[in-house]
Structures are given as C-alpha cells and as structure tokens.
Point group: C2
Chain length 496, copies 2
C-alpha cells in the first residue's frame, strides 16, 4: 500500500479509496472530482462548493496566480485557503498546460514548487511537458525524458507535508505510457496525473483514451492514486473509474455554462435546444429551460454551472454506489450507449479484460447480461482461464436444460451463456448467479461455445455431450468436432 | 385525429400529445404520469404534487370512495376536486382491479360511471375484467366479451363533459389484444387503457409486455391516447412510450417508499443497500442515505416518495426531450442496459421495427449507432425497403472508403454500416448523417451486407463491386456471389 492512499473497495479496476492530504488535515474519498477554480473568476464560491456540493478537494493554477501580481501578493500574504475561502484540500497545477498552449513558460520546477509550497498548496505539481497525441515517437520520447527530469527535480525539493504530483506522459504510445507509469511509481512522489488526454476527449477518441490509460495503469500498478488530468465530463467518468482512475477535475462545469452548454451523462446539450430538463437537481426541478433562457447572463451562467456540477457529482455518487454494489461494469455498459464514441471506449476497455480481471473481485453483486459486450467481461474470461482446473469424469454431459437421456453420463454440468459449462455445485457462486436474458444472445452463445472448447481441449480423455437450445452456426462451429451435440429444442419438440 | 387528443410531435411510435379534458377545463401534455392517490392515505398532498412536481392529472379509485361511507359522503357533498384539493384533471378507476383481486365487486358499469360523474370525475372508467396473462384462450375470449359489453354499456350513459376510458384486454393473446384495440377504437369512448399488464411487469416479462402493447396498438391505431395501466416505474417508461403509450400511473412512488424502496431508471434499490444517492433531486442532494435512514418512519416514507416522484418525472421530461430531439430510440437503447429483462424488452420492440417504421418520422436528429441492436432499428429497415426505388447505372461501385481503382465504374456509392449502400447525394440526409462507431461492429456489417443484397437482387442487370474493410465471414456470406468483393484493408496495406 502506497503512503497517503488506501483502497477500501474495488470493482473491475475501479476503487473507492482514501487519499490522505496531511497539509490540509483532510482525507479525501475517491473517486473524487476536483472543481477547477479560476482565481480570476469564481463562478461558484468555493465555500458554496464545500457546503452545498460536498466538495472535499479543488484544483487551481499556481502559474496564473504567480503571474498575476494582485493574486500573487494576496496568496503569499494570506495563503491559498484564506484567499479562496476553502477549508478542504487544494491541489495546484504548475503552468504545464500554459506551456503546452503557448510554449513559453518561464518557470522551473524548483521555482514553481517552492511557490506552491509558499502559498499553502496541499498538492503541488512540477513543470512537466504535456505531449499531445499522435506526435512522432522521437518527440514523445524526448519530452518524456524532460518530464522525468522534472519529477527528479521535484523529488529533491523539501516540501514538508505538501504532496506532489508525478505526471505520466508519453503521447499515444502505449509502451511509453507504461514505462512512464513505471518510472513515476518508482519515485517518492504521491499522486499520479495521466496527462495530455484532453485532445483525445475533445476528439471523442474514447477508445484511444482507454489505450493510454490502460498502458499508464500497467506501469503504475494498483497502489498509486491516479488523476485523469482534464477529465470531468459525467459521460465518461464511469469508464475512467473502471480503468482505475481516482481523481478528476472539471473546468467544464463553468466553461460550458458560459457557453450555455448543459451537461448530461449522455453528452452535452445546448440550452437553446432543450424544451424540458432531463434532470431533477435543485436547479432543474424548479425551473424550465424557458425560465432559464430568460435570465440575465450572469444568473444563467451561475445556474447552469450549478446544474453542471450537480449532474457531475450525482454521477460520482452513482459510481461509488456501483463499486459498493459490485456493478460498476453494468454502469459502464449503460454509459457506453450514450454516444458511439463511448461504445468504442467500452469495447476498448473490454480488449483489456485480462488487465481488469487481475484486480476484479472474485465475488460481487449479480452479473447482468445486457448486451453482446457483456460476453467479453472479465468474469467470463476468468472462468475460461480456470476451466482447466476443474476435475471432470469420463463421460460428461454439458446442458442448457435437461438431459437428452439421463443415465449414460457420469455427471451433468450446466451450460449458461456467456459463461459456458460449470459444475452444478457452483450455481450459487458468482458469476453463475448472473441474471441473463430470456431471449438468446448470439454473442453469449459464442462465448459459451468458447468455454466448451476450453474445457474439452483441457480434458482429452473425457467423452463430452453438449445439449443446447438453438445455437447459431458460428457458435456451434467453435465446439470441437469430437463433442456430441444434441439439440434441446428438438427434444422439446418431441415432447410436444 | 380523435376528439380530445392531438399529436404534436413524434419519434418511433412515441409522441408528445395534448389530451383535452373538458370537464377539468385542462389540457394535459402527454406522455404524462398520473400519481395514484389513495383517498384513505395521502402520502404527498395533491396540492403539493401540483405546485412542486407540476402534476396536471392524477388518478384515484371511485370504488374505494363509494365503499367508504365517510369518503363517499364527502365526495358527493364537495366533489372530488375539493375533497382532494386538486385543480388539475382527475381520472377515476372503477373497481376492476378490486374485481380481479377479490372477484366480488358488486357494482355495474352504469352504477359506477354514474357515481364517478356525480362526484366530479373528469375521466371515468367502466367495470372491465382485467384478464391476467397466460390464462386459457377460452377464458380470455369470454372475459373480453364481458369487457366489450361494459364498453357498450358505458357508451349508452349520458356523462356530459366527462371523458370515458375504454379498457383493452385479451390476456397474452396478441390477436385478442389487437381485436380488442380495434373494437375499443370503434367506440365513442375517449381514452384507451391497456389493462392487466402489471403481472407481466412484476415478473420482469418486458418482452411479453411489448408483445401485448404492440398488438393492442395495431388494433387501436395511431390516433387513440393510450394508457398503460399500472405502469409507472421509471425504468420502463421510455420503452413504453416508444411503443406509443401516452399515459402512465404510479402507485409505486408511495407504495415502494413505505417499503424503503428507492426508484432509479436502472431498477429499484433498497434504501438499506445504499451508501450514496445516485440522484441529485432536492431530497438526494441535501442528505445521505444514512441521514434518511435515521429519520422517523413517516418522514422517511414521505421523503422517499418525493424522491421516487422526482426521478419518475425527470424521466418523463427526458423522454419528452428525446422525442423533441428525435432520439427516443437512443434513450430506449440506454435503458435496455438497466436489466437483462429490459434488454429482452428492447429486442422485442425491434422485432416490431416494421410497426415502428410506419410512424417513425423520415427525418429527425442524428442516428447514434451504439450497439448490435442499433442495426435493427426502423431506419435501417426503411432504407432496405426503399433500396429498390433507387436508379443504378450499369457498373456500380459500393465502397466503405476509396475506390480500388477509380475509372471502371459509372458511379460510386457509399457503404456505411448498419445501413449498407446509398448514393453519395444522400449523405446529408437522415439517417445517413448517423454517428457511427470507429471500431467495426459485426451486427452493423451484417445489416449493411443485407442492404447490399437487397440492392443487388433488385438490379439484376448491374455489375456490382463491393469494397469493404475487414468484414466478418458471416457478413460477406450474405452478399450475392455475383458481386466482386474487394478488400480496402488490402489496398491500405499495399499503400503502406
């Protein structure tokens, strides 16, 4: 277990954790969303964020404060907490984003971290280089070396109780991201932002985002608290948590509000396009879109920002509840239908079912089979991996229903798509307690056939009979030829 | 257009309508959810339902009022609106439900309708027989005849401005439900409850519910306002609206609350199982589950009932917005992932894509392809039906990308899963403006191959070339043999 971070509950690669922030004398429960505070423009006062939205941690930009004389003087004089009137934990960014946008940030890691420490930040950040997606491998490698030097510089500074971020870069090269994660985890730094994924999210490249995060996580390992830097849209939080991200930040709630954009878990809407509010937060249950459109700009922006935060924190709570209930992947499954890019993201996640399986609890809430993708979940993979450990007799019937005729087998196992065959005595164990659809699901039948094949190949001396309802040809073609296949549908027809 | 009901907007078979209720001097916007008021126990005062939840119509039980002396006297004396302190429209049930539960209701249609009229009901109900699912065909037929006699009796009564319900029964026999719908629509009655579906919903038989409703709708036709009697769980409202249901009723909000059950759009939770509220309604954003658990029973029940109503009306607004935006099926798609039984229900709905297609607007918001099921939507079916109307040249290239070589074809059409081939000039027309996933979707490719087959079979004299990225064998096997198939993946490889 890493210092300052404790994992309390887990589902898929997601977790509920406790991040101890000693300088703030706070423990932050993760997954947590940090509202981004623009010190020049407070859309919602931090004290209200704390009181009304339960915000335990926020993030602001030390570079902007340092470059703005009045803010710098106030921050140095009063400290950040007094200046923002916020008692929770405060993370500060370093200006790396400004570096990536304007490429002329004149500050060293040492200078900015000392400044962050001086103004009372609880979690500081070195000056890393947020290498964008799709650059040349040379550029990604070179800039990663600079970022890693910044981490080394940061390690050498005495920051007292302040925690430090160790950003993970590497552009869209999974091996660089993995190596960067591995390197960052080996430092003494505390929190691990995965950087420069914003262009992927802005481009709706959620599958590429999954590849980047999965790679970084392979390097970081389970113990590190991970911040998906720049990610805060409620649409993608469940997917990111399922990959093992713990911290998020949202500037969107305020920036989008200024643009009359309204967040939902299925995407963003323009206020002008809404006739009804698909939400019951205190803002949306008390007025109609027409009411809101008629307000002056400042009021409208503030109320939209409040809605945007409500819907985002609602999703964070929903995610935490899903982890507690052991149905986080069911939530990801639902969110995957919000946009074709989220569907791609979910399928990319399932490409890493092996990586999820390593962390996914062996037993949790009931498995819901609700799509073709359910057949690719880590629970199915795990069962197929373990099939060769099960003892089988000389003559074994595998059946979706009854026995074609009952007495010529030594034993009869159940076959349930998408899992495939399992001994009856496992029926009460997860995931075989699954709730599955009544209607046949082709992908589930294909996965079940794969399970049959694994079992048959592991037991060359056993004679297998498989009794199934109408399976499609592409499921049956995966069953080894030496298996006798019987149709239960034909048996039912005979009985009629 | 039927008297008292006007359709203003439509998507799939769902619609936003206006039900004129002359006796209440009200126009109710549909889809509408009617809270069920138990006159013996008001969990939330009707005046609060009106003021805080925007309730325009509610439903109460005239039989209970008639059988309870104090209520009967008060209702006869003051009238229902005064008694309940509610200015909106009031629908009254007749005691049919009590009949189905206790089979000894001693009241005729004439008596109960006259009573409903006398106490000031705005929409009354005859004494129909709610035949449960799965009874013998004989019982279903016989009881349907009794129900139809009740409709005839109701037609003969002078009820002034009061509207009347014409319940549609027929158990789980689609042909009986369709005939019952046809018969009911031919009466002069005004509102059309589809009855006795509660046992199907209680049994999570959403696919069977879809069959019953689709059959009743075939009989009723488009113009009738339809009430899905006893349906009010937010999980299934989008599915039912997509089938063409307009009115719902919820006793669940209060009954479930008494049982510490908490409604969500993905099912029901027990309050004790919640550590976080997956909601931001005024109840859930101001307290935690632990706070609520610590309240006294009456307060807890009232607050839970308020949450249950908030989440239900939120879903009604979300559904209306989806109809306005033309993405109701995208919402059904999301709700289908809430439970395997909803997945079955959605697939049953798609079995009736032809029925939906007849009403689905030709042009609406963007089509999102987010699952294997998206390939079975009515828009895909419609395109395939119309492919034979398109003029094709002698040599036609159908391509997912570029041309294998450019100059030997008279024209090149685009191929986009799940639609299949279409002329380039349709690219800006719905549904070809669809947002589709980047990653290949097998079901989409199979549907596109079906489109190719339809086009090829309609044009026996045209020479077709099909250029596709990696399609699976079961998609390619659907393409007629006489089509020359080229692989774009191979072309890309050559270019590397």
């Amino acid at each position: 277990m890493r210092d300052h971070f404790e994992i309390r509950d887990a589902d898929a690669a997601g977790r509920i954790g406790r991040l101890e922030v000693p300088r703030a004398d706070q423990t932050v429960e993760t997954p947590a969303l940090m509202p981004v505070i623009n010190p020049n423009r407070l859309t919602i006062e931090p004290a209200r964020l704390e009181a009304e939205f339960g915000v335990e941690i926020l993030i602001t930009n030390s570079y902007i404060i340092r470059e703005t004389e009045s803010l710098r003087e106030q921050a140095e004089d009063e400290g950040l907490h007094e200046m923002l009137r916020f008692d929770g934990a405060i993370m500060t960014d370093s200006g790396s984003f400004q570096l990536s946008e304007y490429s002329d940030v004149e500050v060293t890691t040492e200078e900015i971290i000392e400044f962050q420490h001086a103004i009372g930040s609880d979690i500081g950040t070195p000056v890393d280089i947020p290498t964008p997606p799709d650059v040349s491998r040379e550029q990604a490698t070179e800039e990663l070396a600079t970022t890693q030097q910044a981490l080394a510089d940061a390690e050498g500074i005495d920051v007292g109780e302040m925690l430090l971020n160790a950003p993970v870069q590497g552009s869209t090269y999974p091996d660089l991201r993995e190596a960067a994660g591995d390197h960052a985890a080996a430092t003494d730094l505390n929190v691990f932002p995965i950087g420069a994924v914003v262009p992927l999210m802005n481009g709706y490249r959620y599958d590429d985002m999954v590849e980047v995060v999965a790679a970084a996580k392979r390097g970081l390992g389970v113990d590190c608290p991970v911040h998906l830097f720049g990610a805060g849209h409620p649409m993608m939080l469940a997917l990111a948590v399922a990959l093992g991200c713990d911290l998020f930040d949202s500037a969107a709630y305020a920036l989008y509000a200024r643009d009359d954009r309204y967040l939902t878990v299925a995407g963003t809407q323009q206020l002008d396009d809404l006739d009804y509010f698909p939400c019951s937060c205190p803002i949306c249950s008390e007025q109609t879109p027409a009411d809101l459109q008629s307000k002056d700009e400042d009021t409208r922006t503030r109320l939209l920002a409040e809605h945007n935060l409500h819907v985002t924190f609602e999703e964070i709570r929903r995610i935490k509840q899903a982890i507690r209930s052991g149905n986080l992947l069911e939530l990801v499954e639902r969110r995957a239908r919000g946009h074709p890019a989220m569907y791609d993201g979910y399928r990319a996640l399932l490409d890493h079912a092996d990586q999820l399986e390593a962390e996914d609890p062996v037993s949790k809430g009931s498995f819901f089979h609700t799509s073709a993708e359910s057949a690719r979940r880590p629970e199915v993979l795990r069962h197929h991996k373990r099939l060769d450990r099960l003892a089988v007799p000389a003559q074994l019937l595998l059946t979706e229903g009854g026995a074609p005729d009952g007495d010529e087998y030594d034993d009869a196992w159940r076959v349930v798509p998408p899992f495939g065959p399992f001994p009856r005595e496992l029926s009460d164990s997860y995931p075989f307690t699954a709730t599955v659809p009544d209607r046949p699901d082709r992908a589930g039948q294909v996965a079940a056939a794969d399970g049959v094949r694994v079992l048959v190949e592991a037991n060359p001396d056993t004679k297998f009979t498989l009794a199934v309802d109408d399976w499609p040809a592409d499921a049956l073609s995966r069953v080894p030829d030496r298996v006798t296949v019987e149709s239960l549908a034909a048996i039912h027809d005979d009985a009629d």
